[in-house]
Amino acid sequence: MSLMPDRAGRSYRRARPAQRRTAPAALAAPALLGFAFLLLPLIALLIRAPWSGMTRILSQQAVASALKLSLIAASLATVFSLLLGVPVAWVLARMQFPGRSGLRALVTVPLVLPPVVGGVALLSSLGRNGVLGRYLDQWFGVTLPFTTPAVVIAETFVAMPFLIVSVEGALRSSDQGLEEAARTLGASRLTVFRRVTLPAVGPSILAGSVLCWARAMGEFGATITFAGNFPGTTQTMPSLIYIALETDPDAAIALSLVLLVVAVLVLALLRDRWVRPGNTV
């Protein structure tokens, strides 16, 4: 511990291969356990998957429509989260106003709220008799529950905080000096945001979007509570899996695998295409 920095630096190069072989047991053991804990259920899914009946299960019309709806709704939820969440993150990170920390805690409530409760909250606000929903119905004849937009709303509600938290953290730690430099060069606040702030937090926005999308893909509780469950309009993959679990567990496992494959595929694709260092726009 009392080594001089340069001496430590020199010895590091020699010690590295040895270190790789012998990680301290105090870390290696729980790490192994952790890996096993996370991977075993996935492996079990693969083992228990009804491989012979796969085609039968996956060729059902409901599966295709649920997957399509899930992909569309999760992507739309991500877009809306970006449109609303990035400005929210900016306000929380950059503006000084009383009650800011309270507001920050409140907008991240959906992170800890049981999604079903989130669905009930959405019904109370945007349902046909909801605080706001009743006026949507009276004035515009619009009712949201049982519609595809309701699925998008429920997913956005649950997933947006992931984006906000990620982007706000990046904004707080980003170099405000660059923004100041842009202002001294005559850039308006909006130009500063567009040309300096956004590119600087770009990777975090992307990471937040991926998290947000993944969360929306897996969203179930708020969706089934607020939007209901009907094939083609509001039945997402998780809803279908939940319903199937009660009647046909094999099908549920098969469908879960589909969701898993799609998620891994999309994340891997994103990683390769956009999350490469030095490749930001």
Binding site: D175, G177, L178, E180, A181, A182, R183, T184, L185, G186, A187, S188, R189, T191, R195, V196, P199, A200, G202, T280, V281
Partner: protein
């Protein structure tokens, strides 16, 4: 109330007049000065003197609390009149200490940033940027990203970027501090040429006296938020008015009271530590505030509060009390420490008064000095400069 600044760049009277008052907690900056068009003013001061605060105020990143900021007769910030022109509307270019180049933009687009922000199209902005790159010899770097630039190159790009905004006032924050010693030398000369080309007032903030002396027409020394001295580099270097400036220019500086010149000139050998107290006062003698006294040449004699400066290289060290001779000032002290400079050793001696003494490494070895050693110091009266305080 904020109005866009009306540019009048052809106007030769684009001088900067500042009375800046800003407080941050305990600290208050309160400075008043002017810079003429084409003049380079170096603001010199230790860390925490308020240099950065001053730059932020001038560039519009922070508002004034009171006072005024006028450029070419136009008010940029004047709380009493409720005037504040925001940063993006000021004709002020700022070269930041760490350049703050946009990492996601090429060199060309960094320089094109200001024209773009002022509403020019991409093509026009890039062509303007190209001209600036050409003037600063950066054309071959146009396609690079900031992380691919050396420190000196980044410095020039930052200057080009600021100049591309066509500013009336140019501000530079420690422009060379991020560079290594060799690059600094090279960039300093180049920067001086570019500043000479700039028509408006230039304000250069630095803590490096050499940088200030070599690039500025005038120095403004601030300490603790106040102006403590201003003048040409030569004036400031010769007659520093605070310990900080004296340190910067490498002088021993003492404050004291000059005695009324006497008609008799006593023998030099009677002068030693505490001699002022013994009543044997000579012409040109200054009783120092920290104890002890120094005698200057008769032509330097004056009365009242004065500052006394002595170059470290003018002081001699002796292992024993020196024999009577030409030096008029002799006193003793103990060695507190050593600092190795390029070609000599700076010895810090505690005594009445304290002194920095420059000797050669050879002399150091010969004298066999260590920390705590008792030494005798001597200075010729002709090497003692006395000038009025304040």
């Amino acid at each position: 109330m904020s109005g866009a600044w009306e540019p009048s760049r052809a106007d030769e009277s684009n001088n900067l007049a500042v009375h800046a008052v800003v407080s941050r907690g305990e600290f208050t900056l309160d400075v008043e000065f002017e810079v003429l068009p084409g003049e380079v003013l170096a603001v010199l001061g230790p860390n925490g003197a308020g240099k950065t605060t001053l730059l932020r105020v001038l560039s519009g990143l922070s508002p004034l609390e009171s006072g005024y900021l006028r450029l070419g007769g136009q008010s940029l910030d004047e709380p009493a009149r409720n005037v504040f022109v925001p940063s993006e509307q000021r004709p002020v270019g700022l070269v930041f200490q760490n350049y703050r180049l946009f990492p996601n933009l090429s060199v060309l687009d960094n320089v094109a940033f200001a024209p773009r922000s002022n509403g020019s199209g991409r093509r026009v902005s890039r062509s303007v940027a190209g001209q600036w790159l050409d003037r600063l010899g950066l054309v071959e770097l146009a396609g690079r990203r900031p992380h691919q630039l050396s420190g000196g190159q980044a410095q020039r790009v930052a200057l080009a970027r600021a100049l591309a905004a066509d500013p009336v006032l140019l501000l530079l924050d420690e422009p060379l501090s991020a560079l290594d010693a060799r690059t600094r030398l090279e960039v300093r000369g180049e920067l001086r040429r570019h500043l000479a080309d700039f028509a408006g007032p230039t304000l250069l903030v630095t803590h490096d006296p050499l940088e200030a002396m070599m690039m500025a027409d005038r120095l403004l020394v601030i300490e603790g938020g106040r102006v403590v001295q201003q003048g040409t580099p030569a004036e400031v270097a010769r007659h520093p008015s605070t310990q900080y400036v004296a340190r910067l220019v490498g002088l021993n500086l003492y404050e004291g009271t000059a005695e009324t010149p006497a008609t008799t000139v006593p023998d030099a050998t009677t002068l030693a530590s505490g001699s002022a107290a013994s009543g044997s006062v000579a012409s040109g003698s200054v009783a120092l505030d920290g104890g002890g006294s120094l005698i200057a040449a008769p032509e330097e004699a004056m009365a009242g509060r004065v500052l006394v400066s002595v170059r470290p290289s003018s002081v001699s060290l002796h292992p024993h009390r020196p024999e009577a001779g030409s030096p008029r000032n002799v006193w003793s002290g103990r060695i507190k420490g050593f600092e190795l400079l390029a070609d000599r050793v700076r010895v810090e001696v505690v005594g009445e008064p304290d002194a920095l003494v420059d000797i050669t490494p050879a002399a150091l070895a010969e004298l066999g000095l260590v920390e705590g050693s008792l030494v005798w110091l001597s200075v010729k009266a002709t090497e003692v400069e006395v000038y009025p305080a304040g």
